[in-house]
């Protein structure tokens, strides 16, 4: 039971199955901005073309009471099929994809490749003075990689935001 005097913030990764229809993303984003909730990341894509279902993954933080509210508010949107707080439902996987451009010459290039190897980042584009690395992982891993690249010549970062799924046999269906 949420306790209003509990001011401890927690992170939550919430999976939302929605009708794949115009305006649904605006409804979800408008809900967060209108009610003052945090969005750390939000991703969306169609996951079932025949049944016209999209999956939105939201990473947010809030007190227990706020997170309860977020879930209830999402659930009452008409095109929302299912809301699942993966953080509470058990062990789950979180992955994010990032493209990271590093610019530099000489020793910096060697160092960049060495680090990329350690982080299992792949080179997906190269010129004589740049690399673009592709990497997947959780947000912390990508953050760490970017931090290490900064002094070497980090030029640009593009990240997808998290997608997530429960471990084990149970699936989330609409």
């Amino acid at each position: 039971m949420p306790d209003p005097t509990d001011n401890n913030m927690r992170a939550a990764t919430i999976a939302v199955l929605v009708e794949n229809e115009a305006g649904v993303l605006a409804r979800v984003i408008g809900l967060f901005s209108g009610r003052g909730y945090n969005i750390e990341s939000l991703t969306v894509a169609a996951v079932d073309e025949t049944r016209r279902i999209s999956r939105i993954t939201i990473v947010t933080t809030g007190t227990e009471m706020v997170i309860e509210q977020i879930k209830a508010q999402l659930d009452r949107l008409v095109p929302v099929h299912k809301v699942s707080d993966l953080t509470m439902e058990g062990a789950h996987l979180t992955r994010e994809l990032a493209l990271i451009k590093v610019v530099g010459r000489g020793e910096h290039r060697v160092e960049a490749l060495r680090l990329a190897d350690a982080f299992r980042a792949r080179v997906v584009d190269a010129t004589t003075e740049s690399f673009v690395f592709e990497m997947t992982g959780n947000a912390d891993k990508i953050d760490a990689f970017c931090a290490l690249m900064r002094p070497i010549g980090l030029a640009e970062v593009s990240r997808t935001g998290a997608v997530a799924m429960l471990r084990g046999a149970t699936g989330l269906t609409a």
Binding site: G30, M65, R76, V78
Partner: protein
């Protein structure tokens, strides 16, 4: 081929506009409140050629929505609105938000530029679905003729089911003109793909509630607008349950009439301007049963001090209302009527008995609070006290025994209406609670009078609020709606003046109602009758005359300009820090800046 497919093929002779009207008719719509314009001309053309649906031409689109709200709240049906694109839709927005805040079922059809022009800044284009997204429970933009009938049926289902609210359907003009297939509404038992509000309560939760209630020593039932939303049967069940248990019952502003005001177990409205006994009983109770109320800030006061020692049971159809402001111990999601029926059944099954001795002591305490007589006022001399004006209005309508419906504007007069007009039945009281929209009362009264042509419908108004939708006097005249506007004219935005007096050092910044019209002449120029009472001796005569006239009437009741509305819980204060009346304002000196920031 199924029967419906046959019907589809046959129906391809209908234009989109005709499909819309047919769907409205199948949804039981008898009246639509609207205002024409280019984008909705096809619907107006179709309206012209049929007799099933009556159109009421308002004078401003905001009023169309409030009229539909009055219609809906007084009948339990969905109110229906039709406005044009651009300014028609934007004018409707205040009404939509009002209906959203107060959970009123509305379907609002808005015209839109043709689909191929959407996004081009076309003439009278507005992003209506964008603008109304946070102003509605749900909205639709119909881009395919094939979707039209389904969307209209679905809109009504969404508006009236679960927690009711306003739904907008944005209709591009080409969709209205092109031929479209008709489909019947889906059968009531066919679930929606994604929207399935929970109606039936969880019996385990009901049993937990019964266990708490029967052990209670200082219980209270706190019932709100959700009981009205659930239909008159829910009010009857609430009354049964409260009488069975012998518990005290309080209603929110939105819940007035859910429990009979004349019943001895009713302790009055609670909250900022609620009674002393209701607020202290809430503060001191050990078990609180909330049915269909949302722990609004006007009700709870300072949250950290709200009913500190109680176990709380919260029954609400909307899970997002639960644990939003106040943490509760036993949440019960479902329809108030079904929950009350289940509570009564479980109470009987259990052969539950309240703790009679404890309850008797609790009532002795409540009676001691009641003895403060917190709503007393002194009417002496010729200056009319506004409380007295409402009290006499109530008593005279009681005496005449006419079916009476009251609407209000927003301000002190609204609170006095809530305090001094007793409602024994649901659906007789329409007020703008959540949004607090000045200008609500007159159009709402119009909608009520359309639904109840023979009833006495009175808008208890303030002289400032009434000017916000005064143009509707013209609608009253056109449709011969004998609505009575009872203005408590204090020549101030009294509620603003009261806050300035109590919280801002008596600096009455811009709260004087200067350059008022002559309301008697104003009524006459709108083909109505104007009456005025300037002295206490005139009051009864004016009230009786107003009621006797079978035409629109404005009664300008000139009341004490400096009267304040008490009791009052100042913002940021707790229930037990209530100010009872003049001479006690000292209590307000203690309002902190933290309190002052609150609205």
């Amino acid at each position: 081929m199924s029967a419906t497919q046959h019907a589809d093929a046959a129906a391809l002779t209908m234009s989109g506009a005709e499909v819309v009207l047919r769907a409205l008719k199948d949804q039981g719509v008898e009246v639509i409140f609207g205002y024409p314009g280019g984008a909705v001309l096809p619907i107006y053309d179709a309206l012209f050629q049929q007799n099933a649906i009556r159109h009421i031409l308002v004078r401003h689109e905001q009023a169309a929505v409030h009229a539909a709200e009055g219609y809906a709240r007084s009948t339990g049906k969905v109110g229906c609105v039709l406005v044009t694109s651009g300014p028609g839709a934007t004018n409707a927005v205040t009404g939509l938000v009002d209906a959203l805040m107060d959970s009123i079922p509305i379907v609002c059809l808005t015209g839109q530029v043709p689909t191929h022009l959407i996004g081009n800044d076309a003439f009278q284009e507005a992003d209506t679905t964008g603008i109304t997204r946070p102003a509605t429970k749900h909205n639709y933009l119909v881009k395919k003729s094939a979707d039209l009938a389904r969307v209209v049926h679905e809109a009504f289902h969404v508006a009236r089911s679960g927690r009711p609210g306003p739904v907008v359907i944005d209709l591009p003009k080409d969709i209205l003109i092109n031929k479209a297939p008709y489909q019947e509404a889906p059968p009531a038992d066919q679930p929606h793909r994604s929207y399935r509000p929970q109606v039936e309560p969880d019996m385990a939760q009901i049993r937990k509630a019964v266990a708490l209630l029967k052990a209670a020593k200082k219980p209270i039932v706190y019932a709100g607008g959700g009981v009205i939303n659930a239909g008159p049967e829910a009010s009857r069940l609430l009354t049964d349950f409260v009488r069975m248990t012998g518990f005290p019952c309080t209603n929110t502003l939105m819940g007035l009439g859910a429990y009979p005001a004349s019943d001895p177990q009713f302790v009055g409205m609670l909250g900022m301007h609620g009674t002393y006994e209701a607020n202290l009983a809430m503060h001191g109770c050990d078990v609180m049963l909330n049915i269909g109320a949302r722990f609004d800030d006007r009700v709870t006061g300072k949250l950290s001090h709200f009913s500190p020692g109680s176990k709380k049971i919260h029954c609400d159809i909307d899970p997002s209302s639960i644990n939003k402001n106040v943490k509760v111990d036993v949440p019960i999601v479902g329809d108030a009527g079904r929950i009350l029926a289940a509570l009564i059944a479980a109470w009987k099954d259990d052969a539950a008995q309240p703790d009679r001795e404890a309850l008797a002591a609790w009532w002795r305490q409540i009676d001691a609070w009641r003895a403060k007589d917190c709503l007393r006022y002194v009417q002496k001399g010729s200056i009319i006290k506004p409380q007295h004006a409402v009290k006499r209005l109530f008593e005279i309508t009681q005496e005449l025994g006419k079916e009476t419906f009251i609407t209000t504007e927003v301000g002190q007069h609204q609170m006095w209406a809530a305090q001094y007009f007793g409602f024994d039945k649901p659906n007789r009281w329409m007020t703008s609670g959540g949004l607090g929209t000045m200008g609500y009362g007159l159009p709402a009264a119009m909608g009520v009078q359309i639904a109840h042509p023979d009833a006495l419908v009175i808008d208890i108004a303030g002289e400032a609020s009434i000017l916000m939708n005064i143009q509707e006097m013209s609608t009253l005249a056109q449709y011969r709606l004998p609505v009575k506007v009872f203005i408590l004219n204090n020549e101030y935005m009294g509620m603003v003046r009261q806050w300035q007096e109590l919280l801002h050092g008596g600096r009455y910044s811009e709260s004087y109602s200067a350059a008022l019209p002559d309301f008697v002449k104003l009524a006459e120029s709108f083909h109505g009758v104007g009456l005025r009472a300037t002295s206490a001796d005139d009051l009864d005569r004016v009230i009786r005359e107003m009621i006797a006239i079978d035409r629109p009437v404005i009664a300008d009741i000139c009341v004490d300009q400096k009267e304040n509305c008490f009791p009052m819980i100042p913002s940021g204060a707790a229930h037990n820090e209530m100010i009872l009346g003049p001479g006690q304002e000292g209590g307000v000196a203690g309002v902190t800046d933290e309190g002052k920031v609150l609205v």
